[in-house]
């Protein structure tokens, strides 16, 4: 099933533009060093507007996951990934053996095409 294109809002355009060039970025506050996700033009920890984009590896571990089933088939595999470079983010797992997934498993970024939109960050076993 095609992945629907996300709505691209002005403050997040650099995030999506970077993905289109194959780079995965989070944000970092230059005042309190908070690294955060999803995109916003200020720090949700200290209110500073002094925030910068930070390209990261996209490597991490599974914090939790599920396999959503529809009519007996697996429709999606939502996951929280604890990124090596900071925040724990919501995504989904692709290209994996669903029976062998486990909390703590190493995963890596896999960009998936969306329907007439930017590529979307998914994860797959490392």
């Amino acid at each position: 099933m095609a992945i629907p294109a996300p709505e691209i809002r002005p403050e997040a355009k650099p995030y999506w533009d970077a993905l289109a060039e194959g780079r995965f970025q989070i944000q970092e506050c230059k005042d309190c060093n908070n690294r955060f996700y999803y995109a916003r033009p200020f720090c949700p920890s200290c209110m500073s507007r002094n925030v910068a984009w930070l390209p990261i590896s996209g490597n991490g571990t599974i914090y939790s996951f599920s396999l959503v089933r529809q009519k007996g088939a697996i429709a999606s595999a939502p996951v929280f990934v604890a990124l090596d470079d900071g925040p724990t983010i919501l995504s989904a797992l692709v290209d994996c053996d669903y029976d062998k997934l486990a909390i703590g498993q190493r995963v890596k970024l896999k960009l998936m095409p969306s329907d007439n939109g930017p590529p979307i960050p998914f994860f797959t076993p490392a």
Binding site: P6, S64, V68, P78, I103
Partner: protein, 388 residues
Amino acid sequence: MSLNGQAYIAGIYEHPTRRADGISLAQLHADVAIGALEDAGLTTRDVDGYFCASEAPGLGPLNVPNYLGLKPRYVESTDTGGSAYLVLVHHAAQAVASGRCNVALITMGDTQVAEGLGFSLGGVDSRGAPEAPFSGPYRTFPAGMYAMVARRHMYEYGTTSEQLAWVKVAASHHAQHNPHALMRNVVTVEDVLNSPLVADPLHRLDCCVVTDGGGAVVITRPEIARSLKRPLVKVAGASEFVKHNEGGKVDLTWSAGRYSGPRAFEEAGCKPSDIKYASLYDSFTITVIMQLEDIGLCEKGKGGKFVADGGLISGVGKMPFNTDGGGLCSNHPGNRGGMTKILEAVRQSRGEAHPAVQVPDPNFVVAHGTGGTLSGDHCGATVILERE
């Protein structure tokens, strides 16, 4: 300012429908409003405060007063998803306690199933929700989002699918006595485990039902409550808290009740061990276990053991819960379970629950709800009632 002693629940009503064919949304709200006012021995002319959430018809605080003939001097429309009606009990009690109104009416009702919209959150248009572009592409579904809390709970504390199933089993034991419940059949742990997986580790029977319906609550000042003929049920304590993932500091081991619960207990002047009955939000079985732990009815991580072997069954276990059958078996109108939670808590407090499930000496009862998404943005709201 404490509201303890300043506001009483004088009237309640729950609509018996589970599929509101032939009833408009406005009529459903009016039916429950009139039912609750009749229960209290009051009329629409007595109401001077009106409270609702987004599922109310039209622009609720304007259009419902017009339809019903109310003349409110204090209105509020607050939406935290399913916990909104517990938030509104808190806020209505506060408005009464501070003299902003004398008789506060809260209505809830939804006709989504009859309208063919059964799986959305009644009345909500999430236009502009800031996280939407970053979650929408993943097709997580509500069950998937709650399942990730369940899986992490299993990982951290050794909770099992059998223990989760006991929550449904307890609800079904209670639902058999509720003639209006959607599911009245008693189920076993095996029945839950044998039902299809919806979102691992949650099975079909770990999920709530999807229904129409609604209810209403009337809250008033002590001297008015004492002039009426109904049992005196005091709003002894109330609190809410919004939890979110703080830009990526995800910790699925606790929910917002961790903060709303203790504050409500402090205001009520009682301890979790004083609670004789608990209405707990039951969108999914894991929701119940999380809330039991977070508001202090059992130790963090021990919720699975607490609910096993009938721990939540009235007359059997330590903490009778959702004796109407709850959202897991009876109803979950608009996918919003907060109103029915306060209604059954009031019935228990009055001694008006079904005799087969009524708890003895319910001097303190609690209703706690979680609205939104347990693994994302959510609001926990705790209300403690004391029988006088």
